[in-house]
């Protein structure tokens, strides 16, 4: 067996970052939602909000913990596995990551302690402020990391000196590189939707079990508000992002569409099987002209096929093609859920229709799957480059042996599978237990019997 360090490092990076992104996706959404819930509690004095907060802040804590430990791994992998990349891009990407740590990580980590443990140690106002700060921290963190990631897709504001080292020439061009705004809004919205469907799914489960109904009503209503208003917005943002990709990474779009020949008035392939060997998409279910309409906003617009690029410039077609369909499919199901919710709301059936609660329960993991699929599209679609058009992934590797990477990959898979299993187990337990039944039975947010001071 041949141990290729580049291939194994790619798998390891893909595995560890896919695992990692699940947690921030939920913490970005949960932090903002918890801030809203706590705000509503302070405003209305309705203790149901407080009880919802108490349940979800525990889930938030478990999620955040797993996000932290899997995130620390990421900050070292650039060096351990992609040292040539780090050496060449450090001048440009280093500051973005450093700003992420300085402006977001410390903020989140310090105020998270108060958010989880500080209920009895600070005033209500200060506790609310801590929640707000943590929520802001998660978004600021997303800002910097997406800026860095976007720069690798659409590098700008740099020059190459000393042979091959990237040097900055304009920080604003680097930070606000051409694909960054699209990627940022698409991802934040995705995190919010993921959280909404996660919360809505749990609410559906409570309805089905006829438990915690006051809490479930609030949770489901808030989740469905997101589905009604934000899911369609996400489709629109996704479309903008796609057009931006067409401008800067047209080969990725051709892989997404599964189009091989450059043509005018290209049809949209709904489903099919891209055959890389023969350079055709088999069993294609097509809608005439639609690809041209969607991508160029004209019936006869020209859409480039994959054959326009030499074979070593094309991304792997199959995973990009299918991941895209998974992502869009889930997005459409989310919009559909919103429509169903509107109809049920006006027929007064939102809290009574069992089938809808089953539907919501089934949609619980939808956001996570869509986010992973979306990242697969954009990251695999960027190949064979690590810095698009300039530096190839194969040039980025560290001087490590394939065998070493293989062992570390196996270790990560084993440990992460185990930790993930345990994390899901504990989250399910928390959900099963539900919100604290009666205010006053326990003190504060964490079942303390008395204030510790």
């Amino acid at each position: 067996m041949e141990f290729d360090p580049v291939f194994l490092s790619r798998i390891q990076f893909a595995f560890t970052i896919s695992f990692h992104i699940i947690f921030p996706s939920l913490t970005i959404g949960l932090a903002s939602w918890l801030a809203v819930v706590e705000g509503l509690w302070l405003k209305t004095g309705n203790n149901t909000y407080k009880e919802i907060y108490k349940l979800w802040v525990k889930i938030f804590a478990v999620t955040f913990g797993m996000g932290v430990v899997s995130g620390v791994v990421m900050s070292y992998q650039f060096g351990t596995n992609w040292s040539a990349f780090s050496d060449r891009t450090g001048n440009v990407l280093g500051p973005l990551l450093a700003f992420e740590v300085l402006t977001a990580f410390f903020l989140e980590a310090s105020f998270l302690g108060i958010m989880i443990f500080g209920w009895d140690r600070v005033t209500r106002g200060m506790h609310f402020v801590s929640t707000l700060i943590v929520a802001a921290g998660t978004v600021v963190s997303a800002f910097w990391i997406l800026s860095a990631s976007s720069w690798m897709h659409t590098p700008a504001g740099y020059e190459i000196l000393d042979g091959n080292i990237f040097h900055p020439t304009d920080w604003l061009d680097i930070i606000f590189n051409p694909s960054f705004p699209y990627r940022l809004f698409h991802m934040i919205t995705a995190a919010y939707l993921t959280t909404a469907f996660f919360v809505g799914g749990i609410a559906g489960w409570y309805f089905l079990k006829k438990q915690h109904l006051p809490h479930a009503r609030i949770m489901l209503s808030m989740a469905m508000l997101m589905a009604v208003f934000v899911a369609p917005l996400q489709i629109y943002l996704g479309d903008l992002h796609g057009l931006n990709t067409l401008k800067y990474q047209p080969a990725k779009v051709s892989a997404i569409e599964g189009i091989w020949e450059t043509e005018k008035g290209a049809s949209l392939i709904l489903f099919g099987w891209p055959d890389t060997l023969n350079e055709v998409t088999d069993y294609a279910l097509k809608i005439p002209k639609l690809a041209s309409v969607l991508l160029t906003h004209s019936m006869d617009g020209e859409v480039k096929g994959l054959k326009a690029w030499p074979k070593d410039e094309r991304p792997p077609v199959l995973p990009v093609f299918f991941s895209f369909r998974v992502m869009v499919g889930i997005g459409l199901l989310m919009v559909l859920t919103g429509l169903m919710a509107i109809i049920l709301y006006f027929r007064k059936g939102l809290f009574t229709q069992k089938w809808f609660h089953y539907w919501c329960l089934a949609m619980t993991p939808a956001g996570f799957i869509a986010i992973l699929a979306g990242w697969f599209v954009t990251e695999i679609g960027r190949q064979p480059y690590i810095v698009y058009g300039i530096m190839r992934t194969a040039e980025a590797r560290s001087p490590v042996l394939g065998e070493t990477v293989f062992l570390s990959l196996m270790a990560f898979i084993t440990v992460y599978t185990f930790i993930f299993g345990a994390g899901i187990y504990y989250i399910v337990q928390l959900i099963r237990k539900g919100p604290p039944s009666k205010e006053g039975a326990s003190y504060g947010s964490h079942d303390l019997k008395a204030p510790p001071l």
Binding site: G65, Y76, T103
Partner: protein
Amino acid sequence: MLDFSPFLDLPLIWGGIIAFAIFLYVVLDGFDLGIGILFPFAPSENCRQKMMNSIAPFWDGNETWLVLGGGGLFAAFPLAYAILLPAFYIPLTLMLLGLIFRGVAFEFRFRTNPEKRLFWDYAFHFGSLIATFCQGTILGSYVEGITVSGRSFAGHPFAWLSSFSLMTGVALIFGYALLGATWTLMKTEGKTQDWARKVAYYALTYVGFFMGLVSLWVPFINDDIFQRWFSLPNLIYLSPIPLLTLGLGMSLIISLVKKKETAPFFLSISLFSLGYAGLAISLWPWIVPYQISLRTAAADPKSLSLMLIGVSIFLPVVLGYTFYSYYVFRGRSSHQELY
């Protein structure tokens, strides 16, 4: 474009900032890793609960300094980052896996029935132990020097393994145990406190032994280091460092005998800072020892300038609210369920 290099020595300033971040990491995560190291030896479940509660609000903030150390090195000295991380591929990976186990143990332990906690207790302990040992080993192997060719690491995947690095790995376990014990001493009372005081004595004995051993060994690793410490007039200028270390060690013993509660922790930190200063003096001006200097590895001055602004604004803020969070959770730790 923004560039302070004409009037500021940016590589030097950044070397200082990274050294400061790593030092804060060592001290802050040091005491909570130390708690993990001592965890199974605590006299009762009650004590363990108190120890865990005393660090639960802080551990991820503490670990963030490790991210700043790594991220900062990438940003300020990308060449050093690109050489050092592959050189330490195996111990770094083991350290990260150790940190994962101990990190999730905080949350998971609290959520498990007391009868079934044993697994997470040991995950916490061994995770902390492995992470500490790997950090010590990395430090030792760093001091011994790295094989470099061109702009990359050129050594063997196991080049980090040597008798010296294994020794420093063990030494750091006792170092962190001392920090953990004196922290526990400060944050608890009664039986837990008595136990922590006893542990601090033992740990201090070993720390003294290992500090002596390292001080005698390091000058023979590299001739320049020997010259730096033992040639005249350096011998005189640098003599305050070993003397102060001895003095601090003595006052630490005295503070333990006198049953002081907060002094031992801060004296232990001072002991660490002197050891750290000693290493910094030995290794100057290298960032990849004996191969690449701070200046050679430094990032573009424009990058360093931008980040300097960021650090000047945000580092005081970070330190401010880190302090605030320690202030909010001041006082003795309770054994009650925090979560």
